[in-house]
């Protein structure tokens, strides 16, 4: 019975010990565990997989993906950061810059401004094309004069800007997300009942809301209310009396994604685009496999 529990723990939990993290790598390959059939089964995956949207506020989206492997969740995160294309300022033609800001600094800063143009409506520019066409370029004009204080020096910059369609891996200015990150769902288990003062101390060791104290038959008993809120400061390990009472772990296949967009595309569109890009890559690979003759 205990052995089965330990195998389950090895398979689905990443355990945070006092001095290190255990069970980090995925081990459920076919043949590794006797008694488990781990061969890939699409139907089994579909039954176990689910997506729960937790919150959507304008540009920020928080959702859970349950039942997926670390490699694929990480692939989505990386694609969101570097491979979803956006439009950003690439070439700045400066005609008259009499301000204190140098040309290249101004150009760099203009490049970082997110452009509210749907990148899916544009195409990539072909290699070797010098002149922009309307399918791949946006052209803007910037004419400013600073004349607030007549005593101070006047600035005027008239740059003519071109906006190109590129991906985050060409330059970070092309990244469509303010950030995209995920964390694993925390799993806190109390191995023994904790009462009275120990319960109070335990509550202080975790983020507010994680441990709640209930009054059972006059005694204060601690209970794990909401493990999801915890940020794992591991304060428990600093107290000798509480160290062995709690098991800190994370659920290996439950990812809490947090995507914040820069405003170009809404975050749910970004996630959908990222998934489609991964599919596109697979398709390109398959086409390559089919076109190259194998011996």
């Amino acid at each position: 019975m205990a052995a089965k529990r330990r195998t389950e723990e090895m398979r689905d939990r990443v355990v945070l010990g006092e001095f290190g993290v255990r069970n980090v790598h995925t081990t459920d390959f076919p043949g590794n565990y006797s008694g488990y059939d781990d061969a890939w089964d699409q139907r089994r995956f579909e039954e176990a997989f689910r997506v729960d949207v937790i919150r959507e506020d304008g540009d920020a989206l928080e959702f859970d993906m349950v039942g997926i492997d670390a490699a694929i969740a990480n692939a989505f995160r990386r694609i969101l950061l570097a491979e979803v294309p956006t439009m950003a300022v690439e070439k700045v033609f400066v005609y008259n810059n009499t301000s204190i800001v140098q040309d290249e600094i101004l150009a760099h800063r203009l490049g970082l401004i997110p452009i509210r143009a749907d990148p899916r409506l544009f195409e990539y520019r072909n290699q070797g094309d010098e002149e922009g066409t309307e399918i791949d370029t946006l052209q803007f004009q910037l004419k400013i004069k600073c004349s607030r204080n007549p005593q101070a020096a006047k600035e005027s910059s008239d740059p003519n800007e071109l906006y190109f369609n590129h991906k985050g891996k060409d330059h970070a200015k092309f990244s469509p997300v303010a950030t995209a990150s995920y964390r694993l769902l925390p799993d806190i288990t109390l191995l023994q009942p904790v009462e009275d003062e120990a319960a109070e101390m335990l509550q202080k060791c975790f983020s507010p809301g994680v441990i709640e104290i209930q009054n059972i038959k006059g005694k204060k008993v601690a209970r794990v209310a909401n493990a999801r809120l915890d940020t794992f400061s591991r304060e428990v390990f600093r107290h000798e009396s509480l160290k062995n009472v709690v098991r800190l772990a994370r659920v290996r296949s439950h990812y809490i994604f947090s995507v914040e967009s820069t405003g170009i595309l809404p975050p749910d569109v970004l996630v959908s685009e990222a998934i489609k890009i991964l599919m596109g890559k697979c398709q390109r690979f398959l086409n390559e496999l089919d076109s190259v003759p194998m011996e």
């Binding site: 390959f29 076919p30 043949g31 781990d38 061969a39 890939w40 699409q42 995956f45 579909e46 997989f49 689910r50 997506v51 729960d52 949207v53 959507e56 959702f63 993906m65 997926i68 492997d69 490699a71 694929i72 749910d268 996630v271 959908s272 998934i275 489609k276 991964l278 599919m279 697979c282 398709q283 690979f285 398959l286 496999l289 194998m294």
Partner: protein, 75 residues
């Protein structure tokens, strides 16, 4: 690589990047027995496509449900 390694016929499956400056990846699949190695590679790619398609459908469905629920709560 994730879905290819979940295949019981695959004896070895791994990748390494030759040098961070050049975008080349060495990918190796070895099968046990007489099975041609292209097969689990192809199957892995197809499975990954199916996984992504399913993830996409589930995600879009969840977004729709969440928004519908929010509409109801606002009314």
């Amino acid at each position: 690589m994730g879905t290819a390694s979940m295949n019981p016929d695959v004896e070895f499956c791994g990748y390494c990047i030759t040098h961070p400056a050049e975008s080349k990846t060495n990918f190796r699949i070895q099968t046990r027995g007489a099975l041609p190695a292209v097969e689990p590679f192809r199957k892995g790619l197809n499975d990954l496509m199916d996984v992504c398609q399913h993830v996409l459908n589930t995600f879009e469905r969840s977004m729709k449900e969440y928004r519908a629920q929010r509409e109801e709560q606002m009314q």
